[in-house]
């Protein structure tokens, strides 16, 4: 088993190594203002806070496919005394495939973990969506907006949601190799009722990011 994994790793490295020297790479840092809302029969629990993130983006020569890997982590403080503060960590890998100058297909995988003094919960989902893009001013100013669905969601200790959607809009300004972005995103998860209690969750975030094009 270990041998097979090592083989896969070696093969992957052999494929990636030649590309590494050719692919454009942009790395960035971000700060997100996030607000999490959940109700699960014990009233509305609100928590908000700041998350910090790192990201790396590249464009694969095939079909100008853009791949973005990001990592976010932060703490969300509870607004109600009955609620608990929680830490959030998230890893995501999102692909964006342009189908025209304006439209791109998006798909990705997100792994998120909420951890409080009471419990920890792991979320994993896959998402697909459509994104509209528009260049406002040459390559300097761009806006985008998109909507996604999460057809496959796995949440530890909870059944699958019957509705999982997300939307986002963003604006980016580039000057040379530097790009500043602001991105608003909203995720909604509606879980099926259990014991006549329906669990609803929503995460709203406003992310400010700065990215630097390495090559």
């Amino acid at each position: 088993m270990t041998v097979r994994r090592l083989g896969w790793l070696a093969a992957s490295l052999m494929c990636v190594a030649p590309l590494r020297a050719q692919l454009p790479v942009t790395t960035g840092v971000s700060m997100s203002l996030a607000e999490h809302r959940v109700t699960a029969g014990a009233g509305l629990e609100r928590s908000s806070g700041t998350m910090f993130g790192l990201s790396a983006t590249t464009v694969v020569p095939w079909q100008a496919l853009e791949a973005r890997a990001s990592l976010r982590a932060g703490s969300l403080g509870a607004h109600e005394q009955s609620a608990f503060d929680r830490d959030v960590g998230e890893v995501s890998l999102v692909m964006s495939l342009p189908v025209s100058g304006w439209i791109a297909l998006e798909g990705g995988v997100v792994v998120r973990r909420y951890e409080s003094s009471l419990a920890a919960q792991r979320w994993v989902w896959g998402e697909v969506g459509l994104q509209g893009r528009h260049v406002m001013l040459d390559d300097a100013l761009r806006v985008s907006a998109g909507i996604s669905i999460m057809p496959w969601v796995s949440v530890s200790g909870v059944s699958r949601p019957d509705l999982a959607v997300a939307a986002h809009s963003a604006l980016g300004y580039s000057a040379g190799r530097l790009t500043a972005t602001i991105r608003y995103g909203l995720e909604r998860f509606d879980f099926p009722a259990r014991n006549q209690v329906r669990r609803l969750e929503e995460l709203s975030s406003l992310e400010l990011g700065v990215a630097w094009k390495i090559r």
Binding site: E35, M136, L137, L141, A167, S169, Y184, L186, S205, L206
Partner: protein, 347 residues
């Protein structure tokens, strides 16, 4: 009766034959006369050759000169020395380039011809056929001849123009190549066109002189020249944005702002009463971006990338034309000058 009819027919034939004989082509008569000369039927040869040189003959100058040469030769063989020299002189006056081939003419003939040459002073010029040359890199394709040692002056003028284009002098005896290199007094090529060459030769011995005029065309033979490229203005990219584009950018910004505002209501769960602050901030930024872009583009701002690309295309066009000019200049510099006499060879 029969005899009378036969006499009439004979008279008619004779009457028709005489004009027909007189209408024989001078070239044929000349050829026949030369053959008779070579067969040493000299009297008969003289008769035919005189027919060629007679004023009523339609012979060309070259045919006349040829006939006179053979007349001179025939009289030399007949021992009529003065007539021979006279015809040789007339030959030289018509064509100074004439000479007697030792393989075809006897020493006696050539001796009399040499005497005729001594007594006749003429200068001649002839354009060599198929002898193009590069001006400045050789002599023009003209060949001069003087029957005696002489100082020769030649002046080239543009047709109808008194001012000399080129002037050159040299001393010559017999045939000589031209010292003119085909350039004008400024060392530049003559423009294509019609010119005339005035030649004056003065014998060094007795100051006898002769002049001649040669009209000739100057043309150049060179590789075909390339046409310069016409700049296609439609190939240029727009360097300024049309003001109308500003409205579409404003609409885009406002659309993204409206989308952000709509997301909490459309996507969010109303039961959770989620925050709208993030959406409003995003909407404000998007709308501001759209408005700023609108204001910026409304001024009809330039498109730097297109300006640079257009400048590159213009420079490319200039560069290509410069290379074409350089290639054409090289071809013209290597062009060969061709001199063609306008009215045949001139004496």
């Amino acid at each position: 009766m029969r005899r009378a009819r036969a006499l009439v027919v004979l008279a008619a034939v004779w009457a028709l034959a005489r004009p027909l004989a007189a209408q024989r082509a001078p070239g044929e008569v000349l050829t026949r006369g030369v053959i008779l000369y070579e067969e040493l039927q000299l009297e008969r040869a003289v008769t035919l050759l005189r027919e060629v040189v007679s004023p009523s003959s339609a012979a060309t100058e070259a045919e006349r000169a040829q006939a006179m040469k053979y007349l001179g030769a025939a009289f030399a063989l007949l021992g009529q020395r003065d007539s021979a020299i006279a015809y040789f002189r007339r030959t030289l006056e018509r064509d100074p380039f004439v000479d007697l081939d030792p393989a075809m003419f006897t020493a006696q003939e050539r001796q009399l011809f040499a005497i005729a040459r001594q007594r006749t002073f003429v200068v001649g010029v002839r354009a060599l056929s198929d002898t193009a040359f590069v001006p400045g890199q050789g002599g023009v394709s003209l060949r001069f001849v003087t029957t005696q040692r002489a100082r020769v002056q030649a002046i080239v003028r543009r047709a109808g123009d008194e001012a000399p284009v080129a002037e050159f002098r040299w001393t010559a005896e017999g045939a000589s190549a031209s010292p003119w290199d085909g350039l004008d007094q400024k060392g530049e090529r003559l423009p294509s066109g019609r010119y005339q060459l005035d030649v004056t030769a003065t014998a060094t011995t007795d100051s006898a002189s002769d002049t001649l005029l040669l009209r000739f065309e100057v043309a150049y033979d060179h590789e075909s020249l390339e046409d310069s490229l016409v700049f296609d203005a439609t190939s240029l990219l727009p360097e300024r944005r049309p003001p109308s584009i500003a409205r579409s950018r404003l609409a885009s910004g406002l659309a993204v702002a409206a989308f952000a505002v709509a997301v909490p209501s459309a996507i969010g769960n109303g039961d959770l009463g989620g925050t709208r602050k993030h959406a409003l901030v995003m909407a404000s930024v998007s709308a501001s971006g759209g408005i700023a872009t609108f204001l910026f583009l409304r001024r009809g701002s330039g498109i730097p990338a297109n300006v640079l690309e257009n400048a590159r295309r213009r420079e490319e066009h200039v560069r290509l034309n410069r290379e074409i000019r350089e290639r054409n200049a090289a071809r013209l510099a290597a062009a060969r000058m061709i001199i063609t006499p306008v009215s045949g060879e001139s004496r």
